[in-house]
């Protein structure tokens, strides 16, 4: 199960929408059909003697899906949406896993869409969601329900006007920290992004 990516998307969507107790904190983000941001990722794994760093940018398009463009340490683009998962290499090689072949990914896309559309109840199928703080500085904690507990221990999201950090704690104790910067709500989808999201 793509639990981590699922959480990631869930977190982003939450940030872009509305945390349960954060009121109208992100009200102005609600209208944003498209969110662009840069991310940096640090994974701390027991099996490795040093943390693993990665960075890139992402595009979150309401109803269409997510483009996760990894630039370092390898260049690779992941497109996740209702039709499935598409991985594109810099040389243009495409590896597609359709919703039919990978129902888990499809489910992810469906849940994700419901999240983007503000259906927070969808999240509660997998987690108990609690939020606190002020619109200028809020925090949301996701605790997995039994079906997700084999993979995850805890997820924490925090942000202000935009989402800033996600911290995932895996069942084995490994950590993943994501930081978002340069969040832009005004830029429309480029033609290339639209094509990628269409997954054709």
């Amino acid at each position: 199960m793509n639990s981590l990516s699922f959480l990631l998307l869930a977190g982003l969507a939450l940030g872009a929408r509305e945390a349960p107790s954060a009121g109208s904190l992100t009200a102005h983000l609600k209208e944003a059909a498209v969110v662009h941001a840069d991310f940096s990722q640090v994974r701390t794994l027991a099996a490795l003697s040093r943390p693993v760093k990665a960075s890139g940018s992402l595009v979150l398009a309401r109803d269409l899906g997510v483009i996760w463009e990894l630039r370092r340490p390898v260049a690779l683009t992941y497109v996740m949406g209702p039709r499935g998962l598409l991985v594109v290499t810099p040389e243009g090689r495409r590896d597609r896993r359709s919703a039919r072949e990978a129902p888990m990914v499809a489910q992810l896309g469906q849940v994700f869409q419901s999240l983007v559309q503000g259906d927070l109840k969808g999240l509660e199928a997998w987690f108990t969601v609690t939020g606190r703080g002020t619109p200028q500085h809020w925090e949301v904690t996701l605790l997995p329900r039994p079906q997700a507990a084999a993979f995850l221990k805890r997820v924490e999201l925090s942000g202000g006007l935009a989402i800033q950090r996600i911290r995932l704690e895996e069942a084995g104790g490994d950590l993943m920290d994501l930081t978002f910067e340069r969040t832009r709500l005004d830029a429309p989808l480029t033609e290339a992004e639209t094509r990628l999201l269409a997954q054709d």
Binding site: N2, L48, V74, E101, P103, S114, A150
Partner: protein
């Protein structure tokens, strides 16, 4: 009554008692077979394939599946929980699955962990190992399922687990409920395992009663909630209900008409009772013989058998009409002797017609043939052995009726002498013949098995929503041992992969998706061992701790001793939904079923598997349809042969007059075909069989009129024809397309045969 009459009655009583003994559990209801599959022939040469068909139909048939809710998740879940509890409380089900105990998601990963080096994976060149490691660590997908980066640094195990077709249903577990979120609302999946076969009338009664009660409670407590259902028990009960309703309609309809005819024409309770005795003897003998031969009655027989009423009454009608015509000169036994040649010829042609039904090794058709032949024979024997003793006195004369019949005979017979009439017939025959170019054929078995529209719509909707597969087709994979079967499955899955990729198939369910073949496992292990050296270097370069490579090495050493076997997998709880796929030891070695999920046409599937050893697509509906087509062609041949044989029989007696004897039934058959062609209805095996019977009945009428050219014979023919027309014509109201076509063809053919049988009046025997 003479001794032979009593002997015949005794004979019937013994037959009835013997048949009654076959009615054991469940009585009359238990004697009715609601499993429609049972009346279809074994289509497979290979007994293992037939076993597979039974396994699948049982797996689909022994449970009822529901979707409850359709609104907001909260109320839907409450409704689902309440419905499951209400079902469970009735005690009518072995098990109700609605509320699940918390499932341990580590079960699957835990099972595969010891075999991680034996699971198939996509190899990569050693030079790309570092990139692969880096990509995996940076992936937004995280570690995925399985053992984590230390034990599975390249994610091969995670990829295998992700690709397991475990979750082919679109449901997820929420709050212990199998939940389905759709654009149309939230549904809860509830399954109820029956306490026995879906075709057991007792199981049907208790399950459907319990479901109705639970549904009532659901509607009261959650008025907005919807309930979708599917399962063999609903289809079986629906088929029984409709067959019983149709049989009731036909028998009561025919009976009412027959009683009315008796009262109108014979005006005698004695005749009515004797006529009923003949019908009763026919029905008792038909049912008893059928039970003795087959053990159970198919629903098809129930419906079609009800039409026997109208045919069984033919012989008493002819005999009584003769009595009415004879007036005071009536002598019961002498009259029978006079009628006997015509009666015998008539019963023989009709029995021959029914016998053609039984030529095909098709249990459903054979039973219809046996039922009809036994009933007709018993009715005829009752006329022959019992009636003369009880009809000693002449019946009161009906001069007015006879005079009217005389006039009808003259007028109607006179028509046949006019050249214009003959020209009209020829023109009609040519026009009808020309319309036959539009006739098309259809051998689809669904004409024989047609569940109600509401049930089918509900099932389709439920399958769409859940992704549940319902098709009865499968690939049968056979091999000498487990390893060969699994390897052959893998070859098949490789051929089907493009169809899944293009969306033609939703997916493929196979044991080898869970248990790779020994060859594939050995290959995976060899590849891992080959990769071990370069991988250790790549791990070090990417910053993995030295202990990681060491543990991987130790794991690889140990992996050789423990191959993953089907037996081990079959014992896991997550294998439960797939256990039926493994047939295990068969007559030919080992066998398994591979299920193609989705609507892909069978010929495309068969084409994809072309040439694979030990693999064959089995599609019961398609095989039965092909068989129906085969028998339709055979029946067409038999029909031509029957026309020829009857023609030869007639030529000896009537010379050129045979044209007039055979003409009316032939024109009746032609008219029925022309109507089919003009209405755009296809020709099926059942239409052809109906045509054979039109020949049998039609020749009866013309032979009678030619042999005994009296008003009373005309009366007998009209009465017999009307009763036959009515009882078979009522089949036209059947919900089963095959029976509807049968009834329409037969009714139309008989009608035209009677209307034109005046041409036979001019024929004189040699």
């Amino acid at each position: 009554m003479r001794i032979r009459g009593w002997l015949w009655v005794l004979c019937l009583a013994v037959l009835a008692a013997a048949g009654g003994l076959r009615l054991t559990r469940g009585g009359w209801r238990g004697a009715v077979q609601t499993d429609l599959l049972a009346m279809l022939p074994d289509t497979e040469q290979n007994p293992v394939a037939e076993a597979g068909i039974r396994v699948l139909s049982q797996a689909a048939g022994d449970r009822a599946i529901f979707l409850v809710g359709g609104g907001e998740p909260g109320p839907a879940k409450a409704a689902g929980r309440a419905f499951a509890e209400a079902l469970d409380r009735t005690g009518a089900f072995r098990q109700v699955l609605g509320v699940l105990p918390p499932l341990d998601p580590g079960l699957v990963t835990g099972f595969y962990a010891p075999y991680r080096f034996r699971l198939p994976f996509e190899p990569r060149p050693p030079a790309l190992l570092r990139t692969a490691l880096a990509t995996r660590l940076a992936s937004p997908m995280g570690s995925g399922p399985g053992s984590g980066p230390a034990e599975d640094p390249l994610g091969d195990e995670a990829a295998f687990l992700e690709n397991l077709p475990l979750n082919s249903l679109h449901v997820v577990q929420e709050d212990g409920l199998l939940t389905l979120r759709t654009s149309g609302g939230c549904y809860i999946l509830v399954t109820a395992a029956l306490r026995g076969s879906a075709f057991d009338p007792e199981v049907q009664r208790s399950s459907l009663g319990a479901i109705a009660a639970a549904e009532g409670r659901l509607a009261a407590a959650f008025p907005g909630s919807r309930l979708l259902r599917t399962g063999g028990v609903f289809f079986a009960a629906d088929a029984r209900e409709r067959a019983e309703w149709e049989a009731g309609l036909i028998s009561w309809g025919s009976l009412a008409a027959i009683v009315a005819l008796f009262l109108l024409v014979f005006r005698s309770v004695r005749h009515l009772l004797l006529g009923m005795a003949c019908i009763g003897a026919g029905l008792v003998a038909a049912t008893a013989v059928t039970l003795l031969v087959f053990g159970r009655l198919y629903l098809l027989t129930l419906v079609c058998g009800a039409s026997l009423l109208g045919v069984a009454v033919d012989y008493p009608f002819l005999y009584f009409a003769n009595q009415l015509g004879a007036g005071a000169a009536w002598e019961a036994r002498a009259a029978l002797r006079r009628l006997l040649p015509a009666l015998l010829l008539g019963v023989t042609t009709t029995l021959l017609g029914y016998a053609t039904l039984g030529v095909a090794p098709f249990p459903g058709l054979r039973q219809m043939a046996v039922f009809s032949m036994a009933g007709l024979t018993a009715s005829f024997l009752t006329v022959f052995l019992v009636l003369p003793d009880l009809l000693g006195r002449p019946s009161p004369p009906r001069p007015a009726l006879m005079a009217r019949l005389e006039r009808l005979l003259d007028g109607w017979g006179g028509w046949a002498r006019r050249p214009a009439f003959t020209r009209l017939l020829v023109l009609g025959a040519v026009l009808m013949g020309a319309s036959l170019v539009r006739l098309r054929v259809d051998d689809d078995v669904r004409g024989l098995i047609q569940p109600s529209g509401r049930l089918r719509a509900e099932e389709r909707r439920l399958r769409e929503l859940t992704g549940l597969s319902g098709s009865g087709r499968f690939f049968l994979v056979e091999g000498g041992d487990e390893g060969q079967v699994l390897a052959r499955e893998e070859a098949l899955r490789a051929r089907l992969a493009p169809l899944v990729g293009s969306g033609a198939l939703d997916g493929v369910q196979a044991v080898s998706s869970f248990v790779p073949s020994p060859a594939a496992q050995d290959l995976a292990l060899a590849r891992h061992r080959e990769e071990a050296g370069p991988l250790a270097a790549a791990l070090a370069a990417e910053g993995f701790r030295p202990a990681v490579a060491g543990r991987l090495e130790a794991g690889l050493q140990a992996a050789g001793a423990h191959p993953l076997t089907v037996d081990a997998w079959l014992r896991t709880p997550f294998a439960t939904p797939f256990r039926m796929l493994w047939l295990g030891t068969t007559a030919h070695g080992q066998g398994s079923l591979v299920l193609p999920l989705g609507e892909c046409p069978s010929p495309v599937l068969a084409e994809a598997a072309q040439g694979l050893p030990g693999v064959r697509l089995v599609d019961k509906a398609l095989s039965v349809s092909a068989l129906l087509g085969h028998y339709r062609r055979l029946a067409n041949g038999a029909l031509a042969l029957a026309v020829l044989l009857v023609g030869l029989l007639l030529v000896r007696r009537y010379r050129w007059g045979s044209v007039a004897i055979l003409g009316p039934p032939l024109l009746g058959m032609l008219a029925a075909l022309a109507v089919l062609a003009l209405a755009g209805s296809p020709l099926t095996l059942f239409n052809t069989i109906a045509l054979v019977l039109v020949l049998g009945f039609g020749v009866d009428y013309t032979v009678f009129l030619a042999e005994v050219r009296t008003p009373s014979t005309l009366l007998g023919v009209l009465l017999a024809g009307f009763a036959t027309l009515l009882s078979y014509g009522l089949l036209a109201f059947s919900g089963t397309p095959a029976l509807r076509g049968f009834g329409l063809t037969l009714g139309l053919g008989v009608l035209v045969s009677i209307l034109l049988s005046n041409v036979a009046l001019e024929v004189r025997a040699k």
